[in-house]
């Protein structure tokens, strides 16, 4: 198999920027927080502020514990894609896709090494591996028992936006969710705008370029972890081959490449509109939305020129996406 990294980086294709005018976009409106959303977030807050007791080697796993495992699986004599999970935390009280793993974990103790036979479920994301028997190895690395705070604990409530009562805390959470959903809707709008303008462009993506990008994704998501745990050679060949055979992974990489190349072209074509002031304005807005701290801002000042330049290029693409959205006719669609 050819290692894409051993080749000269594949140049991006030249693309003529399409028109960004006249786009009519329909975007799902922001979700209104439901009571279930609020209660789920309240539970997250409780777990976040729980008192954790670290279990010792040999301690049994409890029904509400959080457990850290290393995991790897094989089917048909090959690594199961996505199965190599290292330092994975799971909640025992939550359902797992693989009930065999859940059953094994419930009866395990901290420090156990387990071998679990299971059948990959009907819903498994690689169709060829559905209903296929597999062998998983699982190490139980550590576990924590959590004691959740009482809902009327003033100290806990105060951590939710300074609330003094539970109803007040619930209001704060609803507000928090509302703001998040609003921003998420904006992200969706930008995404739709980018996809729409990209659909107008003629982009030829070479197989080499696609493979290179797929390799980049695989390397970050799975390859590094495999290397780190001494799983080299054939393990990695199998792993990457599985990624190449995953049509959804390939399609996503292709879509993102196309979007990015087109937005780079749009940014170049509209360079005059993407002024210094506008870019700074965009930066200020996104820094706020992203919740970037002043300390991180200060650090950024001292970044090397390469990082600043790369970040600037990214900012340019985002600003171009905003420009596309500005020029579009946008309507929010409620479910």
């Amino acid at each position: 198999m050819v290692n894409p990294l051993s080749l000269t980086p594949v140049p991006l294709p030249k693309v003529e920027a399409p028109s960004i005018d006249g786009l009519i976009l329909k975007v799902p409106a922001a979700k209104v927080p439901t009571p279930d959303d609020v209660m789920a977030r309240l539970e997250e807050h409780r777990r976040a502020h729980a008192v954790a007791t670290q279990k010792k080697t040999g301690d049994a796993i409890g029904p509400f514990d959080e457990v850290c495992v290393d995991l790897i699986g094989y089917a048909n004599g090959k690594l199961v894609p996505g199965s190599a999970q290292f330092g994975l935390w799971v909640r025992i009280d939550r359902p797992l896709s693989f009930p065999e793993l859940a059953a094994a974990l419930k009866l395990a103790t901290v420090g156990d090494g387990l071998k679990v036979n299971l059948t990959l479920p009907e819903s498994f994301f690689i169709p060829a591996l559905r209903n296929t028997p597999a062998v998983y190895l699982m190490d139980v690395k550590e576990a924590q028992h959590l004691k959740l705070p009482k809902l009327d604990d003033p100290g806990f409530l105060a951590k939710i936006g300074g609330a003094k009562t539970l109803p007040e805390a619930l209001n704060k959470i609803a507000e928090e969710l509302g703001a998040q959903f609003a921003v998420a809707a904006t992200f969706r709008a930008l995404h739709v705008a980018i996809e729409s303008v990209a659909a107008r462009a003629e982009v030829q993506l070479s197989p080499k370029l696609l493979q290179q990008e797929l390799w980049n994704v695989w390397r970050e998501v799975e390859g590094k972890a495999l290397s780190e745990h001494g799983l080299l050679g054939q393990e990695q060949v199998d792993s990457f081959e599985n990624w190449k055979d995953d049509p959804k992974a390939v399609a996503d990489v292709e879509r993102r490449l196309r979007n990015t190349i087109v937005m780079m072209a749009v940014a170049k074509a509209h360079e005059a509109e993407l002024t210094h002031e506008r870019l700074v304005e965009t930066a200020v807005r996104w820094v706020s939305v992203l919740g970037i701290s002043e300390e991180k801002l200060a650090e950024f000042k001292h970044q090397d020129d390469a990082t600043k330049s790369q970040t600037g290029a990214l900012l340019m693409e985002i600003a171009a996406a905003e420009l596309v959205l500005e020029r579009s006719t946008l309507s929010w669609v409620t479910a």
């Binding site: 059953a103 936006g161 998040q180």
Partner: protein, 338 residues
Amino acid sequence: MANNNITGARANSITSLPVQDDSLVAPDPQPVVVGSGHPGASSLDPKSKPVATATIAGATPISANAVKVTGTALTAGAATEAARNESSKLTTHGKNIAGVGKSVHGIAKKVAGAADDEATTTDRMQDAAGALKDTAKMVSGSTKLTDNLSAKTIRNLKVGGYGAGAVAGAFNVYTNAGELRENLGKAFDGDPKAIADSFNNTAQIISGSARVVTDVADGAKLLRVGGAAAVVAGKSVVGVALKAAPIVGAAIGTAKATIDMFKDPSVENGLKLAANAIGLIPLPGMSAVSMAAAAALENPKVMAATAGAVRSAGKWASGVADRMAANAATMEPLGLAM
């Protein structure tokens, strides 16, 4: 995230289907083939050198499909090789082909485990039930939580543009999010001038301009929000946004390496996350960094972190830094391996 989404599929590979506790089913005892290593070795610890691949008759079944190999722990080489070989012999009808045994120990363990669990569960469930009861009381006996949301909250939510046609312009959501924050509290306490200064160099690099930005009034407006302590953490905002965005598949285990990005994102990482969320590749060849970050959101630990927790995530992230450093050394073999 829907499980038909590839991210969901990968990231939720063991977290989405209902549990079927089959620990009650204990099949007949048979020897189990696993890799053997020296005692105490971890199955996936690269420092644990494989001793041999062997048939271990004494492995302890703990459920219908699982074998505990404590004391003869798996090692990366032997165990993975054994598992690989074993999996190649399985057929679609061979769910229990490894022949995990029905053992007295397994049953005893199950009973003992159940007893322990029951005690703990009862205790915890009483706690949970009490808490929920309290909740019910404290929301004024209403069956609808929303009844107890303040009118101000509802008004703000409407201002947030959730209704059809509520937002006419591209940036109104930002503005409205800002208005929400105005009522919520100060989401970001930054000095607009400082932000502008931070980006000034970047902007110069982009545009070639040497001008110093002095007027960022439009952006500053969004930041001039008053009120009490922040409820809305930017990290949460990013998290929700990323969860809502289509993202390519990623594995949780690797993804946790990016927890720091959510806890306290740097400028460059924050923008990468944003770019990923809106369907771009942050930079050609760097896409996976943010994709992995997105997948991390599926992890309860990260969700806790994005909700404002630092307790567990902090510890988790600290180990990640070491791992990432180690990765630098392993990248070369990774490349050569292909």
